[in-house]
């Protein structure tokens, strides 16, 4: 059982559908004694030393809350684009999607596309107003004209739930990957990740986190490019030959060119599509990145670069997945005596690295995968810490009566606490299938954070009551329906197949519209004086969101 868990944890390719997919495809591997990969350890140690050096440098420059949460607002559009790409291209994307392509073929590409198409929407409708209205967290934007206390409490809850699910998936994935690749025990691996991320975030804040992301994004893009090139070289750069060979070799043959069973149900397919597309626009650690640039123009550039890098990367994962079908699945060296993939279902990309580039390449890609997880958990932790210190502590509990130093201290203490919590959860969840958790994070982001944020920026009629109720309706419904779906009800709780109350792979098709409707309905029924005042405050907010007048760092007014 453990090896199955291993395979599904990282493969968390971000939706419940994946857990079903993995259940069918990840053959239980025989327990293999972890061997120590010195190439990987040395390359990773280099990454750690470099990033700790950057953290030391960043710590000298982190004096104010603006430095801590938003890197002083001095990140350029190009740098931020890379950092966003770094935040977004998690190990689940890299190992998970290539593993999905490896086992199910075209199905993996549906994920890649879904993860990318949210970005243009963010660009066209959200990037500029977001930058013009917010300071440190997306709650700043939502509470711009609404009542701070209830709205920040709601937004912080949405943030923490999203971050927690995402974080658990990454921690468990990290522990299993490192145990496997570096030969370290699971618990020490989780502790190493936790301690390093706490050091980055506590001392270096957003400045260090941004640079860790940039370096990691660069490494990942270089590594994936190299692997894809090495795969294509083997086929004389004939993509057609690669596909033909993959179809011939794969046990499912022609079926790998079809979308696949998990999206055979139209409602599941559409629902998953919605969660992937709009979830992106509601991920707090991604939204936070828009506040690190100086103005709306740089925010725009960031999205363009992020979209370019992420799109390019997803095309590569497809090549890597198909390459792995040909070069890994048919090679007994990567399988145990029973024919199962060594190390479990998430390993195709790592084995492929070995197949095309030998031990050194494998070590490099393994180190990059570890660096990827480390960078993503740092971004998540910073985002969670900002929700606690900036939204809950400074605004909700202290009603804004708090000085910079105290808020900074609170965010650092929160970071340490979150680090400990992440380590504990990582250890507790070791044996639990966490494949659904990233999917849940996206569903919550799409249902709780995104509707409220979008309406706050674009709809005059939204009131505090509407946003509060709508946000919680989306949050509760997304969590509840996910728990009642086959991915958890059957796969995790072990109830018999077919007994799940909610039959679809993702709740977004219900929970997201429900959140919008609740926001709308409660707002139009809201006859309160404060509600009317909030609606009339929309004009001023609108002018600022469109022009940036009054926004920090934009125009001296």
């Amino acid at each position: 059982m453990k090896s199955f868990i291993k395979s599904s944890a990282l493969g968390a390719p971000l939706a419940v559908a994946a857990s079903a997919a993995y259940a069918q495809t990840a053959a239980p591997a025989a327990p293999t004694a972890p061997t120590t990969d010195w190439n990987a350890i040395i390359i990773f140690a280099g990454f750690v030393i470099l990033t700790l050096g950057i953290t030391y440098w960043a710590a000298q420059r982190t004096r104010t809350t603006k430095d801590f949460y938003a890197a002083g607002g001095g990140v350029s559009g190009f740098q931020n684009g890379l950092a966003i790409a770094g935040d977004y291209m998690s190990a689940a994307s890299f190992l998970g999607i290539s593993a999905l392509v490896f086992s199910l073929g075209y199905y993996g590409l549906i994920y890649s596309i879904g993860f990318l198409v949210g970005w243009p929407i963010i660009m066209f409708l959200m990037a500029e107003p977001l930058k013009n209205l917010g300071r440190f967290t997306f709650a700043d934007v939502v509470s711009y004209r609404l009542q701070a206390t209830p709205i920040r409490a709601m937004a912080a809850t949405g943030t923490l739930v999203t971050v927690a699910f995402y974080l658990i998936a990454q921690m468990v994935g990290a522990g299993q990957l490192i145990e496997l690749l570096f030969g370290l025990p699971y618990t020490s691996a989780v502790i190493i990740v936790g301690v390093l991320m706490v050091i980055y975030v506590t001392f270096g804040g957003m400045i260090a986190t941004t640079w860790v992301q940039i370096i990691k994004a660069g490494l990942l893009l270089v590594g994936a490019t190299l692997m894809s090139l090495l795969v294509l070289v083997k086929f004389g750069f004939d993509f057609n030959a690669l596909i033909a060979k993959a179809v011939e070799v794969h046990p499912k043959h022609e079926a790998i060119l079809l979308p696949g069973a998990p999206v055979a149900n139209p409602i599941s397919a559409i629902s998953l599509g919605m969660a992937l597309m709009f979830g992106t626009a509601g991920l707090p650690h991604i939204l936070m990145r828009f506040f690190t640039v100086s103005n709306a123009k740089e925010a725009r550039k960031s999205v363009f670069w992020a979209t370019t890098f992420i799109g390019y990367f997803y095309i590569l994962t497809f090549i890597i997945g198909f390459g792995a079908i040909v070069l890994v699945s048919a090679d007994p060296a990567y399988h145990d005596a029973k024919g199962a993939l060594l190390g479990g279902g998430n390993m195709p990309a790592i084995h492929l690295a070995h197949a095309v580039g030998g031990d050194l390449m494998k070590g490099f890609i393994a180190a990059v995968a570890f660096a990827t997880i480390l960078a993503v958990v740092s971004g998540l932790t910073l985002s969670g810490a900002s929700a606690v210190s900036h939204d809950l502590y400074a605004s909700v509990f202290r009603h804004g009566n708090v000085d910079e130093a105290a808020e900074l201290r609170a965010s650092r203490i929160t970071t340490v606490i979150l680090g400990i919590v992440a380590i504990v959860l990582g250890v507790l969840f070791e044996k639990v299938n966490v494949a659904f958790m990233v999917g849940l994070a996206f569903a919550v982001a799409a249902s709780a954070n995104f509707p409220v944020l979008l309406l706050a920026m674009l709809w005059r009629g939204l009131t505090t009551r509407g946003a509060f109720v709508g946000g919680f309706v989306g949050l509760i419904l997304a969590v509840l329906l996910t728990v009642l779906s086959p991915g958890i009800w059957e796969a995790v709780f072990g109830f018999p197949k077919g007994s799940a109350w909610f039959p679809y792979t993702s709740p977004a098709i219900f929970s997201m519209p429900a959140a919008f409707i609740a926001c709308w309905l409660v707002s139009i029924l809201d006859q309160s004086k404060s509600g009317a005042a909030e609606q009339s405050a929309y004009e001023a907010q609108y002018v600022r969101s469109q022009t940036g007048i009054g926004a920090e760092g934009a125009v001296a007014h």
């Binding site: 075209y106 590409l109 549906i110 890649s112 596309i113 879904g114 990318l116 198409v117 970005w119 243009p120 929407i121 660009m123 066209f124 409708l125 993509f239 057609n240 030959a241 596909i243 033909a244 179809v247 022609e254 060119l257 079809l258 979308p259 999206v263 055979a264 149900n265 139209p266 397919a269 559409i270 599509g273 597309m277 709306a296 123009k297 725009r300 550039k301 999205v303 363009f304 979209t307 370019t308 799109g311 997803y314 095309i315 497809f318 004009e539 001023a540 002018v543 600022r544 469109q546 022009t547 940036g548 007048i549 009054g550 125009v555 007014h557």
Partner: protein, 103 residues
């Protein structure tokens, strides 16, 4: 920003132009993106066989479509940035200068 400045900006022809053009452009591109993506999802959901139609050797319609959607996403964001950098920033600068100058 005080009430008077706010009213003045709202009446500024540059502001009206900026808001109208940017929001119609932004929504047009968003709708294009949504139609493309949900068209793709509809194909996956209702006509999966179309995805597997071979159009050149072993390369299927689905692969070309998938890569195409990724490329289109990048191109559309690029188009938006180009237009925004060329037009919207100038308009915004004019609005800001006007709001400040008359104060």
């Amino acid at each position: 920003m005080d009430e008077e400045t706010l009213k003045r900006i709202e009446r500024d022809p540059n502001f009206i132009k900026l808001v109208r053009e940017r929001s119609s452009f932004g929504w047009t591109l968003s709708i294009i993106m949504l139609v493309i993506y949900y068209g793709f999802i509809a194909l996956v959901a209702f006509a999966p066989d179309v995805i597997a139609i071979k159009i050149a050797g072993s390369i299927t319609f689905g692969i070309v479509l998938g890569a195409g959607i990724i490329v289109i996403s990048i191109v559309l964001t690029g188009i938006y940035v180009m237009r925004a950098n060329a037009e919207y920033d100038d308009l915004t600068a004019a609005i800001v200068a006007d709001a400040k100058g008359r104060k």
